[in-house]
């Protein structure tokens, strides 16, 4: 199984380093980014509902990696535990050194409908086209982002920041997103229709069903359908 792919789902993971420095208010750029992302929670819907083909996505600011200080299971660690006669300097030298990230990062992970044949670049161009100003407000202080001027540039930039996702939660089946949205719409509409039609005589039911089918137009994936980000009918 190639990385980033599970069925037709594609897991895009990008880490973009945020420049050190602070605003005129004395707030670090990374903290402003986090603040803006947390502000998205208070909006009626995430800006990402405007990005076609997005299943699940997540943003966060990564400050640093966690350090696990206890010795690992390497041979020298084990030996040094088992043989207390080893000199202390040797014991200390096998403890893992602390690793730190050189920057704070903006992490963007998105699960999109694409799969092996999927066009991630088209997705990213679509994202730029839909929410350019929101992209700028969170990526604006990232290293290298100053070169991004259009959708193609954004796609190339994100590809440079991309890390492979070996295992990920696939929150959807493999049907095209447009079909899933239509199915969701039909299910909601039909449930309401079934409840409202209970007890009707056969002739009336047949007539109402015909009207219903014409209105919801099942074979037409383009519409009417469920809009992304909608909670209920």
């Amino acid at each position: 199984m190639p990385a980033n792919v599970s069925g037709r789902a594609y897991a895009l993971t990008a880490l973009s380093p945020i420049r050190e420095g602070w605003t005129s208010d004395g707030i670090a750029y990374a903290d402003v980014v986090r603040d803006r992302l947390q502000g998205w929670n208070t909006e009626p819907n995430s800006p990402m509902t405007g990005v076609p083909n997005t299943y699940l996505c997540r943003f966060f600011v990564l400050d640093d990696v966690y350090h696990q200080s206890l010795p690992g299971a390497g041979v020298l660690d084990t030996l040094s535990d088992l043989l207390p006669v080893l000199p202390n300097a040797l014991r200390k030298s096998v403890l893992p050194a602390e690793d730190h990230l050189k920057s704070r990062y903006l992490v963007f992970s998105s699960e999109l409908h694409g799969g092996v044949d999927g066009d991630v670049d088209a997705y990213l161009r679509g994202m730029w086209g839909a929410i350019e100003s929101r992209i700028r407000e969170v990526w604006g202080w990232c290293h290298g982002f100053e070169q991004v001027t259009d959708g193609a540039g954004f796609a190339a930039y994100i590809r440079k920041c991309q890390l492979p996702a070996a295992l990920f939660f696939n929150g959807s089946n493999d049907d095209p997103l447009a079909e899933q949205l239509k199915a969701l719409y039909l299910k909601q509409e039909f449930t309401r229709f079934a409840v409202d039609s209970q007890g009707l005589d056969a002739a009336t039911l047949r007539r109402r069903m015909a009207e219903f089918m014409q209105r919801v137009d099942p074979p037409n994936i383009a519409g009417p359908t469920w809009s992304p980000g909608r909670y209920r009918l």
Binding site: A194, V195, D196, Q198, G199, R232
Partner: protein, 524 residues
């Protein structure tokens, strides 16, 4: 059962519902402690009257049956006021510390169930006047209840302004009382186990390891095992300080002696909209094939008159057969048989909900091993069957969501066409973990339907049905997937039950009560 519990140490209301043991009357009294030292001394005095869990009788290991029983419980502010050390207070569960009012969004106590509609005593609690101590009295007769209450009043009075009985419980005609009374309903001069909608209540209380010998059979009450057999649930699901179903000790307050043999109790006063219920049942019953009483049974999962479970008696014909067996057993005094008829069943032969709907109250509260359902390609459309490979035991998804039920109806229905009378149920639920047991069931199974493949649909009887006419609640009454009947929809279900107050309480063991009174709780 081989496990032995220290029944003298465990408060009696944890192991038995007094209402089923000849105590048809209850009075729930709430105290505020104004001076910690006075409060501790008061707890010491009251503890001498606390009823334990021994069986009643004259055999060795039994105690004489009291005319009235007394049990004590505390809110988080109450324990703080009694001077428990901060480290002990912090070791109680966060939801207990927060209290039921703060958890209202999780519990669905919104709209007409929101705190602004609660009785004054509960509106003020966690705001301007906290409830600290809950004294629960149960009695065999009005005279016995009066005796118990007078005794309580006289003890509290000795503490002057150190402690007081709180008023603000709404009674008949809206007057405010110093207590919440509750009582078994009476029909034709007989005490019956019914509630105000007409359902027989209080059936199938859980059975756990170590319960006193008088406890009822595990069939239908314990945890479901393969082969439609039953075993008692682990003690630690209901009592702190004992291993639970995960073979761990449930998280509990520190020190260990504070937690051991204690539990958490959730008190909820639930108003019943009798008029709305009658009108909806009448209206929907007219359209329902099978008629009004079968429809009422579909709401609950049991027939109203005698509690016959739909899983055994899904239609009029099988109900008749059930009734014959049931009456014969009653007449013969064979209470074990009566019990089995009511409780010994599961949903293994009803995995598609044709007998007992997925949104029926008893199926939502206790799915009895039926949540492990699966539909595979090729199965009849709409049908579900048991998934035997996915889990260890049939009850894996529900064994840790059980609760003991205590409490009684309150008030009287004078006019069945109205909602605004004083009538409802005081329900008390006992569990070791408020969040895992009560709050989970309330949020996921009462007010939501995903685990039952029922989307957003709520428990028909108890759900906090939508008060927004543009987004009405509904339920589906399933039918046999192999048959030709269409499923029946219940449209625009109104809210039948509304919350009028309550909180989360801690019920200590007698050892812990004595230690609290002595001020020697020490978590270090």
């Amino acid at each position: 059962m081989t496990k032995q519990l220290d029944l003298l140490d465990i408060q009696g209301n944890l192991v038995r519902a007094y209402g089923r043991f000849g105590y048809p009357l209850a009075r729930y009294v709430f105290l505020a402690v104004h001076h910690p030292a006075a409060g501790r001394a008061l707890v010491g005095d009251l503890t001498r009257y606390v009823t334990g869990s021994l069986d009643w009788g004259t055999d060795p290991g039994q105690m004489p049956r009291p005319d009235w029983t007394l049990n004590l419980a505390f809110t988080y502010p109450g324990l703080a006021q009694l001077g428990l050390p901060t480290a002990s207070l912090m070791s109680f569960s966060p939801e207990f510390a927060a209290g039921m009012r703060e958890r209202r969004d999780i519990l669905g106590d919104t709209g007409s169930s929101a705190p602004q509609h609660w009785d004054p005593i509960w509106r003020k609690h966690r705001d301007t006047q906290d409830v600290h101590v809950f004294v629960s009295l149960n009695a065999v007769s009005p005279e016995a209840l009066a005796k118990g209450y007078t005794k309580l009043q006289s003890i509290v009075e000795t503490y002057g302004d150190g402690a007081q009985i709180l008023g603000g419980n709404v009674g008949d005609d809206g007057e405010l009382l110093d207590y919440q009374d509750a009582h078994a309903l009476v029909e034709n001069g007989q005490v019956v186990a019914k509630e105000h909608f007409g359902y027989t209540d209080g059936i199938s209380d859980p059975v756990f390891e170590g319960m006193p010998p008088s406890a009822q059979s595990t069939k239908g009450r314990g945890k479901p095992m393969p082969g439609s057999t039953w075993a008692p649930l682990a003690t630690g699901e209901f009592l702190l300080g004992h291993p639970d179903e995960a073979h761990e000790y449930p998280p509990g307050p520190k020190p260990g002696l504070l937690a051991r043999n204690g539990s958490y109790l959730i008190y909820r006063k639930l108003h019943q909209n009798v008029g709305t219920f009658e009108a909806y049942l009448e209206q929907q019953g007219r359209a329902y094939p099978g008629g009004k009483e079968l429809l009422a049974a579909k709401f609950a999962g049991r027939w109203r008159d005698n509690g016959a479970p739909l899983a055994r008696a899904p239609d009029a014909a099988s109900k008749q057969r059930f009734d014959a067996e049931f009456s014969a057993a009653l007449k013969a005094g064979d209470m074990a048989k009566v019990d089995d008829l009511l409780s010994d069943f599961d949903y293994n032969q009803d995995m598609s909900g044709a007998k007992c709907p997925f949104s029926a109250h008893i199926r939502r509260c206790n799915p009895r091993g039926s949540l492990q359902m699966i539909h595979e390609p090729g199965d009849l459309p709409g049908s579900l069957k048991q998934s035997v490979d996915a889990f260890d035991t049939p009850g894996a998804l529900s064994n840790r969501r059980r609760m003991l039920r205590r409490g009684l109806p309150y008030g009287q229905v004078k006019d069945r066409s109205r909602d605004d009378g004083n009538h409802g149920i005081v329900i008390m639920l006992v569990n070791a973990d408020i969040n895992r047991q009560f709050e989970f069931v309330q949020q996921q199974w009462m007010n939501y339907g995903n685990d039952f493949k029922a989307g957003n649909d709520k428990d028909i009887l108890l759900g906090n049905h939508s008060e927004d006419p543009t987004q009405p609640s509904k339920a589906v009454l399933q039918t046999d997937p192999a048959g030709h009947d269409a499923p029946h929809f219940l449209p625009r279900i109104p809210r039948f039950v509304e919350t009028r107050g309550g909180d989360y309480f801690f019920v200590p063991s007698l050892t812990a009560l004595r230690m609290i009174a002595a001020g020697v709780i020490d978590p270090t």
